[in-house]
């Protein structure tokens, strides 16, 4: 799971930035797409990643009986 989350992180950050010039023509809410991604999209994705990780790890800990209060 860490690997999957990490690849989402990598794509959202470096993938989009690398191709930023090629994606310039797309627009979203009036923003050029790469600008939106770097200014807002990436942040929201990070937030989701961290939130999902916290929630999922909590559940996994419980399931396998390694949680603190298990």
């Amino acid at each position: 799971m860490t690997g999957a989350l990490l690849s989402v992180w990598f794509l959202a950050t470096f993938g989009v930035s690398w191709f930023a010039r090629d994606l310039q023509a797309l627009t979203l809410l009036g923003f050029p797409f790469p600008f939106f991604m770097a200014a807002q999209g990436a942040l929201l994705i990070y937030l989701l990643l961290v939130g999902f990780y916290a929630w999922r790890m909590g559940k996994l800990d419980k399931k396998y009986g390694v949680g603190e209060d298990a």
């Binding site: 770097a38 942040l43 949680g67 603190e68």
Partner: protein, 692 residues
Amino acid sequence: MSGQSQFSSQLKRYYSLYTGGVIGFIVLLSILEQMGVPNQTLGYIFLGVTVSLYAGIGILSKTSDVSEYYVAGRRIPAMFNGMATAADWMSAASFIGLAGTLYISGYDGLAFVMGWTGGYCLVALFLAPYLRKFGQYTVPDFLGARYGGDGPRMIGVFAAILCSFTYVIAQIYGLGLIVSRFTGLDFGVGVFVGLGSILFCSFLGGMRAVTWTQVSQYVILLVAYMIPVIWLSVKHTGNPVPQIAYGYVLEQVTAREKVLNDANTPDGAREAEVRKILKQRQTDAEARLLALDAGGKDYLTTERTLLEKKLAALRERHAADADIAIAEQALYAFPQTVAAAKSVWRAEVEADRLKSTPIAAHAEAYAGPDEATRDNKRKNFLALVFCLMVGTAALPHILMRFYTTTSVKEARLSVFWSLLFISLLYLTAPALAVLAKYDVYTLLVGSSFSELPSWVSAWEAVDKALMNVSDINRDGIVQLAEVTIGGDLIVLATPEIAGLPYVVTALVAAGGLAAALSTADGLMLTIANALSHDVYYKMIDPKAPTGRRLAISKGLLLVVAVCAAYVTSLKPGDILFMVGAAFSLAGSAFFPALVLGIFWKRANKAGAIAGMIGGLSVCMLYMYITYPFFGVNAPLWWDINPISAGIFGIPVGFAAVILGSMFSRPPGAKVRALVDYVRYPNMTGDEGRGVS
């Protein structure tokens, strides 16, 4: 557990009341402003009340218990720890510098937005929960226990102090700037006033006081950041959510940029005219530099005589006053020595070159005249993002915060809350930059010089390098190329640019102060803890009684503060570079050893030492040979700017840890047990704890 939740709901009640109080206070002050209380007084009230508030919280939470002092008793609820981390995190650079950088460099500045938030993914996935499980007091603590012996701990302490100190200087600098601007005190005095309030808080209550102060500082800095942006957003788009609304404004800014860059429109033609004059000035300055290289001192004397003659001739034939004033000014500003002339003219060439090129489109990624420039920009953008992210995940004062939560689960949640609270501001900064740019493009550009708004002259009086508008082509109308705005004043001046009441300006200043103070608090505490806990208690005198440990920590805090203030008063310059450097240094020194220490059982002492020293020295070496301040000016490696030195340091660190570990004996059973202990939340047992 129920005690904990009661504690938590009590806190929520306190801080809701507190937030209400802050808003009430702002309303009260705006009423005072309507009644005609002078601006200076309002500024004083604002800064005075907020600073004494922080000090008050510091007094209330004073403590002499070790666990309370170092890790706030490990009972900070996730959400509040998130707020405190956010305040700890958002420094003067985030609050003042970020929107300014975005204003000036558009898309390319977004590297900071991404780098400073994306790093939290690394913190969440690789570090925070495991460090919390380990459950000691500092980051070098972990290195010491995991790798054994004083070697790794000592290097950890050194690196922690190095990057925290670099970082804290930048904060105190920002502090001095705000205090001296809004109270009229001298910069040096401003530094010491700000420092006093930092000390007051961390001195009395350590981590506990700092945590609760930081939570309250977060509330103030967020409110201060939001109010002007929301106001502007409503004014321009009628939409109170600036993060969504500014897409529309960005379109208009882009359209306006096209007009100003197009010499066929009336506005664009005037811009082109100014740019031509600036280009001419640049060529002149370049020619003077060449002549100076050839002629040396004699050339300067000849030039000076020429200027004197010109002035005399003007006076002779009673030329216009304005012309005489210009000639006098030129003579007055003429550099005295060869060295001074060189630096002044070089700066002139650089400034004119920047302003004589067409404006770069705000929303365009890696704007540049040719493919090579663009590629270079892209490379540096990615390198910077990488260094900032890894640095985020390795800064000791941030990692230390995750020792304060109640459990591993809370530590994970707490990263989420931190990122949420940080994002609130970081999502807004790009909006602020665009809205401010729109105002400058539409309100300032095209207005007449006889009706310049008062904030222009007010800021010009503070520093000509930060704000300057001069009628270069003498047509009486402001062109964009005639305006110089320093990035650092964008946030502070936005309320004035948009014509909002002075209360908002004072509020923003108080917010900046809160940001600088909160980060400085956390950093100072990290430095003092590293010295007193890791060096004194763990290495010099392990039997030291608690009282003495705390006393030493507090004493060291004082010493560190005085050193930091002294270095700051020398004005070593460039805040952004210092902050970036701190990230690169932290990333290279800590990240490889920490991550491999948690996830790779085979990593051992020799590897850790090699990795930390290797990473750190490559990083420092690259900065030393390429950053102009040190005067070596070696060629860049693959065109990477010195701020991203970590891009070389981090891989070297990883490689060195791995190689070092492979070529020496694997760690003992005790260490492997510690790794297991750290990895699984429910493991208890003495084999893990026993090492510490």
